[in-house]
């Protein structure tokens, strides 16, 4: 249980100098200190945020970035943004690679930069696909929410579109094997929207999350087309096997598969590699850890007294 009484400085309040000395002992800092590896700095959340805003301007012209873009001027703006995105991304991929680098692979540092540029270019080639998917998400949001007055309103105001833009960008980077960068990109959206979708999650067309706060979608989740979620839904892992050292084994499929046309109401929790069959409806606050056949309705039992 928590023990607040321990104090490195027994008896009396130490001087500022003594505190600083204590904090600079290697034994104090070694577990929480990041050393530059090959002089490459940390990935920059700020640079990635700028990159994502430039991508938003490219993906939704007129809504983000220069609001006066026309079909005639679009080529210049898209070009200038993507030229910048390419350089930011190549640099950040390189930093991400170094951040997670196994120090025995030093010999491979040489082509790390070339690899990063190649990955950045391959990511850019996925942008038409990302935009197409997001256009589907926009019409799903408009159709799925009676409070939406126009598709444009969902692009401009809905946390669902914001979070999915980040996730679909991050997912393509994740598929390319890029380290840590995708996670930072989805955290940017998590912090703003309360929607936490892991970059690894595979999400189909026309996906909509209404309100969204508290939604969690895990790394190996698979979501079909035309799925709709409400706030507080969890698609999580039930448990996970550990290796002989007791560390969880990474990368095993452990999150749900949600088939096409499924609706999951607010607060429902679905855990483990279960399949929610096509067209099923999962009620609010339901807790599910087993497969559900297509067309099911699962609701929470309710008891009241009054």
């Amino acid at each position: 249980m928590p023990d607040d009484s321990r104090n490195e400085f027994k008896g009396e309040t130490p001087s500022l100098k003594a505190v600083i000395k204590e904090l600079c002992r290697p034994a104090s800092y070694e577990a929480v200190y990041h050393r530059h590896w090959q002089e490459v700095p940390m990935p920059s959340g700020e640079a990635l945020a700028e990159m994502v805003e430039r991508l938003r301007a490219v993906l939704f012209p007129g809504y983000y970035g220069d609001s006066e873009v026309t079909p005639e001027s679009m080529g210049w703006h898209v070009g200038a943004h993507l030229d910048a995105v390419f350089r930011i991304l190549a640099e950040q991929i390189k930093r991400g690679t170094c951040f997670v680098c196994d120090r025995e692979e030093v010999g491979q540092c040489a082509d790390c930069e070339a690899k990063a540029r190649n990955l950045a270019l391959r990511f850019l080639a996925r942008l038409p696909h990302i935009r197409e998917m997001l256009a589907g998400d926009v019409s799903a949001a408009y159709e799925g929410d009676p409070a939406a007055k126009s598709p444009g309103e969902t692009i401009y105001c809905y946390p669902s579109i914001w979070a999915l833009t980040n996730q679909r960008i991050a997912h393509e980077l994740h598929e390319l094997g890029v380290a840590i960068i995708p996670r930072i990109i989805t955290e940017l959206a998590h912090s703003r929207t309360g929607i936490d979708i892991h970059p690894g999650a595979r999400i189909g067309r026309r996906f909509f999350i209404d309100h969204g706060t508290g939604v969690v979608i895990g790394e190996t989740a698979v979501i079909g087309d035309n799925v709709r979620l409400y706030q507080g839904v969890t698609l999580g892992a039930k448990s996970f096997p550990k290796d002989e050292k007791g560390n969880p084994i990474k990368g095993i499929p452990r999150h749900p598969i949600v088939e096409d046309e499924v609706i999951i109401y607010s607060g429902a929790t679905i855990l483990g590699r279960v399949t929610i069959g096509k067209g099923s409806v999962i009620g609010g606050n339901v807790w599910l850890t087993s497969d559900v056949p297509p067309g099911s309705k699962v609701i929470q039992r309710q008891d009241g007294e009054g």
Copy 2:
């Protein structure tokens, strides 16, 4: 199901130039592109955020804005803020109107600006009422949370007061028929607090939401006086009728009515146009889709094994 394999650029990585060209094809962008309508720019989230901060300084003098305001100097500061608010708001209302404008009403653009100014002025006339409601919310927060040390602390630190300030402002604008602006104002608070209250919701006196993250209150919800909510509570819609084209019919009452003195504990989900009778208590994580008579207690069944 999600199909990551599709690629506009089969076989090899395309050049940046080819990606840009692809993204500038009308077929690629038309569903996600915003065209200026009559040269009027988009509503500005930044301008609205400034406006709300100025209103906060007016509504809670000394807590926000110039902290050294005195009864003697208050007139100048309130005057200067409201003069600025008036102009920001009139401009943003005009932009919002154009954003949702049905292009066949072009003839009515002429008086769009005059209408916007009139609406802005009518909104300002509601500020004394808004402040009075918020003063009630403040004492409800102080009385409702044993951790609160003073009413001032709830003004300064509590997400509930922050979110309600935005919502009560947005609600008055919503009542005046202002388009999209109210929604942007509540989203500003949603992003910061995790509390998502639609501008349309009608909320009584002395309302308090403790902690708040994940709370959702829908467009047609009605909340009485002295109601208290906890985090993760949903007052949502159960389902909604669609028109012959399959689009949801907008504007139908579809969210709960919560009468005076009701308490709803964390994670409870109440869906549809149901009425929670006066003085009822709804337990945590309960899922409710039917009326509850006054004075009820509804709790979740619980099973355990150990």
Copy 3:
């Protein structure tokens, strides 16, 4: 029930001038106006945010602040940060004290500044302890999430570490009796992460909150070592006794005790001064208001039809 019809300005839209006059009547503003006390300004959220960022740079060298810090240069950077932290904190503690000051204690204002400096110094002496606790949280996060690729990734990206850093700082200030400042510090993290832990909560070693959005941990909660929580978990109060005036009595133990090795899945709600015995597992969405013996498993009943 809400009554939108009331209007101070019956009949017609008033002038801006009339609105300003109305808002400057003492009767309108007195409940929501903060008067300077002894000319001491309000605590500054901005200054506290800077302070916490400097502390983050001290606690996690290389991850935050100057990313190129080396063992050789660490003393200068830690020294410069803590010297600034000391002054910011002493000033903010003084402001916080005045903010809550009972105006009858005026005679004690004289040594208020000296007290604030002493408290700031005593806080700094707790930093080695705070860092040690956070180092434990980092390894718990790494071991507890199969999606984490390295401990460093959890320092850099995980909302759990961010929120715990703020809370462990705020908790030490709370233990020293500092007013309001700790609460502002935890709200900074609440707004960013959706994790709302009261500064008063006592938290053991190696604590991990996965995803985190919607987690609420109350003022008098006690959490053991090696505890893991998921998003949406509430450790709240069930009800609280009121004094003769109907105000809640402050400071009574009213939140759960969670013993070592407990896991609580997403959306679970545990209310009141109950004890969750060592090693217990509480399932998702469970609603618990009574003690649970060590080693228990509590799951939600589930009903489905399809």
Copy 4:
């Protein structure tokens, strides 16, 4: 002579309120108050500064703006910058026109916006010419200063190139008849470099001003090719005829003509519509108010005693 003794508030120090009242009397402010004309705001120095920086990025690619621009990506960056420049400039020209508008021309306001756009476009068509002139200035600076190590250094560090960039931009706008905007653009450079060249001055190729502080070149000055000036040189007006009301008659040629290959050393003052003949050298601190034939050397007499 100055009389500091006058005081509106005789006898005693007035209240803040009385001062404010006095300052808001029309008689107090009418001479120094700008009224919006047709609701068009003032020209924005900030917007013009952004515009000039974008033009600098276009004129000197790689030196200003995106430093990593390549021949391949240049089209996008130049396009995006000029698209923005076009809109900023059209807006600012319109504002400038309204700022100086004779209120009897109201009928012509209608096409004011269209005219502004046309002028902006005609300005843009002069950019290749402006760049060509500046390229000449750059080699003149490199060749004219033994301290310059490369032409690039003069682009990057020399106040002469900075000031000429602003002036050559402003001059083209001046030639198009644009009001006030050109003057704001040259003042931006004057404030930074101490070089004050009126937008109306006509300047030939390969012009160089070494050091530059205190240089003044008047509205109707004409400067040939390959001219070199040093700091503190004035090309000013001697006197100017006034109209019957005693106001100076605007627009009459009243500044010097400096022919090709002339060098003017620091501090020299040349006043009036005089001509400095080709290839002349004017010594430091000389004061000249008459024509000088080609090939002249004019030096100051000097007396010393020791």
Copy 5:
């Protein structure tokens, strides 16, 4: 003569640590180190710059600050600005007093704050006078420069008006005996415009400085009405008596008196307590150290050869 060879670290390049140690020896820093006096911080150039911008908005409504101010809203804006100016100024006067404080007067610190507030209020009472003087300067600028198209243009673009605004503000503070603050205010304008007028200079009505770079007007200069100066004019001191320790005696009249209607052309230098008689014209680059009777013309001799 300069001796670059000396090096504290003979023989070899020292470590960073050794440099830091050397710089922290009292013998190294004592002559250039500022110690807080009574914990009062230094005057803040940033705060004073904000204050001057607020005063500019008050003095020239519509040109600076909120450009949409109307006669109706002027009271609020002027009030809010001056309320802020009052507090900024009182604080900065107090800091300035401490900065120059003779440490033997400690006993008088008690009422230092009250004195500062009184001085700030007395300054504010001079604002109508300052505005009236500036209105005269504006018409002098318009009438004195054939390139000026309207009086408003001189308010908005002319360095003369900018510099005189700062100086006339600073002069009133100087007359009130405020320490150092006036000098910082004139330096703000000097840095921007190149016009260096000491706060002590007494300047009459309708003063105009064309172009202005390099103008210097000393502490005890006196300038009449309707005087016009050009760039590079110096009204300086010739020499100054020293006290027995060899320090210059402060405060003795030592700069020129320039009577009404005088014109001084660019680069002229006038030194010492001489009087330039009413209506005189001083030519460019003239160097003057003796009295000149009213109506004189003084020009530089010129010699040329060709």
Copy 6:
């Protein structure tokens, strides 16, 4: 003579597209385009400005940077600043080297980074010397200006001290052979103060420039101890030999030598490698191109008529 009539786009106004195309032709941009060399970016004026501000905080503790530094905390602040300065400077030196790099030396790029770090360290070792020189400049300013109320005031407000700080820093870098960086550092001061001192100038102890606007001191000037200058003084080159291609030969001594105790009044111009003997006084606006023996007084002849 200037020919404004030329237009690449004869006859009619071209489209924006045509302008962009024209500006992207290599023939248009090649003379003004900077290509990255070895992917090393341009030196950053912003980074150098930050570096100089950190150095100012080190050189004048308490006046700049953290104003509350004490003898106890000085080591941390100086250490943290210099650690940052070291890294900024090493990076900028590397960039500067690449900016001027002769492309045939490619083989030497390898150790460019190591050289840059070594130069940065050697610069830091000169800081105690720089501070000592500046301390002398401060007392010279205080003693030389009757308007100065304390030495601290000159540190805080006098452009002379500001400009000399930049120049003495830049001079040490110039002595170490660092390319372009020193010039950018002195231009930062030139732009702010109007004082343009080349980094190459060798300046003795206790140097003071009063007012300063328009002062120019050339690359090879040598200035003794206890020299005082006023505004507008030029220590320049008279002419310079050119090589066979007509380019000026770089680096030849061509600026004045000013011996100890010399005073030069405002606007004086001294050109060429002349020597101003010890203790001489040069009057205002004098134009000098020959040696002056020690103890001379040189004044301008003056003629007047009235």
